[in-house]
């Protein structure tokens, strides 16, 4: 029989059953609602334009979409490792994991830039049809989130380096970890909707 033993207390048990603080959850739930509205727009546009939405994903780069999904998931993994390292009182290790997450964020942005360039060379733009209008609106919005999310991680790295966070008190790190996972959640939803399902 397999038994799962957590090596350290979870975020939840350490902070009254709510990981992070209420402010970050207000932000996360607002952002999740914002993305939910975009997904509803996608579904409505799809049922009213079935042929366009069937054709749309076939002209996008599955390679770019898949690569960015793997990069986002890996960045989330790095962020989890950064939180675990801090709980184990290893701020240096935590900083290294966070730089890994920033690197993933930058890679994501570079791939997305080249994906947009590639689309343009294929004659795809925001005005091609409603599928690509939705695609650009949703993915560019997500692009911005990855940009400022990466910047926020760099801010937390700076704070870690100044020694502000301790093994017992590192709520700022937990907050950005949660926010970054939200950005990841949005992307894992965008990926099947725009690149896979026809």
């Amino acid at each position: 029989m397999t038994t799962i033993v957590l090596a350290s207390p979870t975020l939840a048990t350490r902070s009254a059953k709510i990981p992070g603080n209420m402010a970050i959850w207000a932000a996360i739930l607002s952002e999740m609602s914002e993305f939910a509205i975009m997904f509803i727009v996608y579904f409505l546009a799809k049922v009213h334009n079935p042929e366009i939405f069937k054709e749309g994903p076939t002209k996008l780069s599955t390679l770019a979409g898949t690569s960015n999904t793997i990069i986002m998931l890996t960045s989330s993994f790095f962020v989890v490792r950064a939180v675990i390292a801090m709980r184990e009182n290893s701020p240096e290790k935590s900083v290294r994991w966070l730089w890994g997450a920033v690197l993933c964020g930058v890679l994501y942005l570079i791939i997305k830039y080249f994906e947009y360039e590639w689309n343009t060379s294929q004659g795809i733009s925001t005005e091609t049809n409603i599928f690509y209008a939705v695609y650009y609106y949703v993915t560019f919005n997500h692009f911005l989130h990855v940009g400022w999310g990466s910047a926020a991680i760099i801010w937390v790295i700076y704070r870690l380096n100044t020694g502000i966070y301790t093994q017992e008190e590192h709520e700022g790190l937990i907050n950005i970890a949660l926010y970054w996972h939200m950005i990841d959640l949005a992307w894992i939803t965008i990926f099947p909707l725009l690149y896979v399902i026809r």
Binding site: T2, I4, M32, L73, I84
Partner: protein, 96 residues
């Protein structure tokens, strides 16, 4: 056999990558049908649940917060299947 927290997170990360590669394979199928749409909806539900429960560590957290986040990954996959099965009906209900 005991699994440490780090080992569990590593296994889940690899599972997420495997599910993503599987999605990429489905994306290249010439004429996908209901089966591939259902599979993609299930893959999204599983990936979302893993991140919510284990990466965000909401598995044992406050019930309202946990439920709100988990429900998201029941509703979107359900909508994916409903939109595939009943596009004309939904289109008819959503005309201004």
């Amino acid at each position: 056999m005991k699994i440490t927290h780090i080992k569990l997170i590593e296994i889940l990360w690899l599972l997420l990558i495997a599910l993503t590669l599987f999605s990429a394979y489905v994306a290249e199928i010439p004429n996908p049908g209901l089966d591939s749409v259902v599979i993609m909806a299930l893959v999204l539900a599983i990936k979302g649940r893993i991140i919510v429960d284990y990466f965000m560590e909401l598995k044992d957290s406050h019930i309202v917060l946990r439920t709100l986040m988990q429900v998201y990954f029941y509703v979107i996959p359900a909508l994916i299947i409903l939109v595939y099965l009943f596009p004309e009906e939904i289109a008819a209900w959503t005309v201004l």
